[in-house]
């Protein structure tokens, strides 16, 4: 694992969605794409080019790594590193703070939420 500091927040939507998807557990490329696209996964539609470009940079930054496991020779699995987990936690805390602020300003209508 690369000994680098966690990526400073705020993260880009694609990076956040990928890290959030991997926070659930190890996933292969298409599973990450699918998870990122869901509302709870960040709602970020992305294609293979964006996915692997972002994963490439995340691996260089030491936030994500390949598991080395594969269920198909073409399908690779990825997981969060400790730094990756710290980065996504920091981003969630930042968003949480912003959300609390928005709520106190009456920008979020609680009754409208499911």
């Amino acid at each position: 694992m690369a000994l680098t500091t966690p990526k400073p927040t705020p993260l880009t939507p694609a990076v956040f969605a990928i890290l959030l998807a991997l926070a659930e557990g190890d996933k292969h490329g298409y599973a990450i794409m699918k998870e990122a696209q869901t509302p709870q996964g960040g709602g970020v539609p992305m294609g293979p080019g964006t996915l692997y470009g972002t994963l490439d940079r995340l691996m260089r930054d030491g936030l994500v790594e390949e598991t080395g496991l594969t269920d198909d020779e073409r399908r690779r699995y990825y997981r969060l590193t400790a730094n990756g987990r710290a980065a996504v936690s920091a981003e969630v805390a930042r968003l949480d703070g912003a959300l609390a602020s928005a709520r106190s300003l009456g920008l979020i209508h609680e009754e409208g939420r499911s």
Binding site: G29, P48, G49
Partner: protein, 271 residues
């Protein structure tokens, strides 16, 4: 059967599209990208139109991003940029010198006959010769002729005698030039006389003070037209030299950057 053919076609087209990515990226991710495409293509929950739209947008944005990234990795290296900037600075300095030095030599050389003419005329006037005698008759058209000429002015700057005409009259120097010559004895200027509708005539003028019983001024001048043509040629040659040197630096920097680019790192495991 038709569906399978269509699926194979789509797979092949996407494989070709992957070939558009930079080599390093392609080598590392072509297989998993293709697999992700196959997974998405075979996912019945994903509408085809939506997927095609997503893939098209993804291809455009990620291609641009990866090429930019490759360019940054290959060329945005401090040592490479520093060398290029230093070389460009030196080249610009050389090109400026290639222009400025000959330009000054040409411009200063343009005064040579006038210095001698003005000195001789001043000597004659100071020895008591009348202006009409010291300034021999002449009919130089300042707008057309390249011949040197002399004009004598009185102490107030009023023309007394002239070998040259501009639009039929004798042009007068700006008062500031006379004031300067009164204090310093001589001035060498590029003069653009304006008389009537004539514009754009530039004269290499040497103005000297006349002392003695009848103080005044003598101006010896000559058109700068030919000198300016040569200056333009020198400027063009210096400009072309500068463009050539900058082009060589750009080609050299790009070639060196490419040859010394960071090696391909196979971050991924086997394909």
């Amino acid at each position: 059967m038709i569906k399978t053919l269509f699926d194979n076609k789509a797979d092949k087209i996407y494989a070709l599209a992957i070939g558009l990515y930079p080599r390093r990226f392609r080598e590392a991710y072509a297989f998993p990208m293709r697999q992700a495409f196959r997974d998405a293509w075979s996912d019945n929950a994903l509408p085809r139109l939506h997927l095609l739209n997503l893939l098209a947008k993804d291809l455009i944005t990620s291609l641009a991003k990866e090429y930019l990234n490759m360019f940054r990795e290959t060329y945005a290296r401090p040592a490479l940029i520093f060398n290029a900037v230093i070389l460009a600075g030196i080249s610009t300095g050389i090109a400026l010198a290639l222009y400025a030095i000959p330009q000054q030599v040409l411009r200063n050389g343009a005064n040579d006959p006038q210095i001698q003419l003005a000195t001789d005329a001043v000597a004659m006037l100071e020895s008591g010769a009348p202006p009409s005698e010291a300034i021999s008759a002449g009919n130089v058209d300042m707008a057309r002729s390249l011949a040197p000429f002399i004009i004598a002015y009185d102490d107030q700057g009023k023309p007394l005698a002239s070998q040259a005409r501009l639009s039929g009259g004798i042009p007068v120097l700006p008062a500031g030039v006379f004031d300067y010559v009164r204090q310093h004895g001589e001035e060498r200027v590029s003069w653009q006389p304006i008389l009537g509708t004539t514009r754009g005539v530039r004269i290499a003028a040497v103005v000297e003070r006349v002392g003695g019983a009848h103080p005044g001024f003598v101006l010896a001048g000559r058109s700068l037209r030919e000198v300016e043509v040569r200056e333009a040629q020198v400027r063009q040659m210096a400009g072309l030299t500068w463009i050539g040197m900058i082009a060589l630096i750009v080609i050299g920097t790009l070639s060196y950057g490419w040859l010394t680019r960071p090696p391909v790192q196979h971050l991924a495991t086997s394909h």
